[in-house]
Amino acid sequence: MDRSRSVSDSGRKDRTICLTVAINKIINSFEGAVADIPSGSSVMIGGFGGAGGQPTRLMLALRDQGATDLTIIGNVAGISKTTGYGWPDHLDPIDQGIFFESGQASKIICSFPVPGTTNPLSDIEKAWREGNAEVDIVPQGTLIERIRSAGAGIPAFYTPTGVGTPVAEGKEHREFDGQTFLLETALHADYALIRAEKADTRGNLQYIGTSRAFNPAMATAARVTIVEVDEIVEPGVIDAERVGTLSTYVDRIVKRAEGDPLP
């Protein structure tokens, strides 16, 4: 599929009509799936925080690919490595801090960048303290609604969350029925790296357990959505009643190796 379209300033899906009829979305390697992500891109990372639902192989591939000046958009972003959050005890946790440890990311937009403890210091906090990274902390419900809005064609919305707090500074306030709300804007990205249990060859996705989290919304909000799955199946194997993300949103699918030791 032609992916030569340039990264637009707004990060919106452009309206170019794609005339390709048979689209092969399956990419054979994680390296290949992220090869064209240029420096300066905004990249959403799915999941919640912790191993479940995290596109860990895609993250490692992007780290190895070396693109710089990245804006990472995540949720609980960089606490697993130092606290073990959401990882089985016997494994070394991997979190979004890898892009700050490597110096590739210049900014993160997320709800939970740092753990309660500063001993040891997380990679994101270290980069922030050294002046190498900007950290934009967004309430989780506002963050997910901004992402949902981006995918749904809603430019902005009012929320009760954050009124009277630092996140309200500089934002439009408006009253509805006597209650004050904040105006928050949609959040797009150039790329979304997401994780699902299964994809069919069309790109319909099925999730498992609590691995959904930010994945389905992020799939809708990026110009290019790349999914890491444990299994690729023929159309029809994922019951139409159980499709968690529609194939329309999915651009690239990469399957993990059998018996991958990472969760």
Binding site: P113, P139, V163, T165, I208, G209, G244
Partner: protein, 232 residues
């Protein structure tokens, strides 16, 4: 004297431990309600539910209806709660994505949330996400929960290091939400917040603690209505 000009008093009796705070906070949770427990002391409430009380726990990462937090699951990363613990799969449980999860919260469908705090003011303002000196903190779901849950209970230690008051006239730390707290349960007291009148009513003290003992560790004038109870 410490930096906040507070006199350090000797405690008249032991303060409750973290489990004791959780146990007292859990006592007021109502059977059949939908509850979100924050990390730390709040999460421990699940271990001390009164007999016969069953709650529908909600966790921000997209899970509703896990019933027994005290019995851990198998460590499956795809069956996690928002605190990073791994609960058991039980009948009636539901999984959903973060859009739905925060529809539940923002839409006012969570009956009670129990959260920790750095500071609470007499008007019920809550600060619990950033220590100014550090300059960076994590909000997570706290702002959504505090602003939108039907009832907000704070479970925390009464004072910070050096007996610095955490219950204050005005929060000096960055706020999580304005005028949101209904009740404060600490290691020495249970306090109701009358947000409308900006008054704090002391309901109970820890065994061996008097009104004056609690008042001296609280930077807001406390009131008492009727008999002062003992935390059990």
């Amino acid at each position: 004297m410490n930096s906040s000009d507070q006199v350090l008093y000797n405690d008249p009796a032991p303060r409750l431990d973290r489990a004791g705070i959780a146990k007292r906070a859990a006592r007021d949770l109502v059977d059949g309600t939908t509850v979100n427990l924050g990390i730390g002391i709040p999460a421990m409430c699940a271990d001390f539910l009164p007999h016969g009380v069953e709650l529908r726990y909600h966790a921000e990462n997209g899970i509703l209806g896990f019933e027994d937090l005290s019995a851990p699951g198998e460590g499956d990363p795809n069956l996690m709660d928002a605190g990073g613990k791994f609960p058991k799969l039980v009948p009636g449980m539901a999984f959903f994505d973060s859009v739905e999860s925060f529809n539940l919260i923002r839409g006012g469908h969570i009956d009670v949330t129990v959260l920790g705090a750095l500071q609470v003011s007499k008007s019920g303002d809550l600060a619990n996400w950033m220590i100014p000196k550090r300059g960076i903190g994590s909000i997570g779901g706290a702002m959504d929960l505090a602003a939108n849950a039907k009832r907000v209970i704070i479970a925390m230690e009464h004072t910070a290091k050096g007996d610095v008051a955490k219950i204050v006239e005005e929060c000096t730390f960055p706020l999580t939400a304005q005028a949101c707290v209904d009740q404060i349960v600490t290691d020495i007291a249970v306090i109701d917040v009358d947000r409308e009148n900006k008054r704090l009513r002391l309901r109970e003290t820890a065994p061996g603690w008097s009104f004056d003992d609690v008042q001296s560790r609280t930077a807001v004038a406390l009131e008492v209505e009727g008999d002062l109870g003992t935390m059990v």
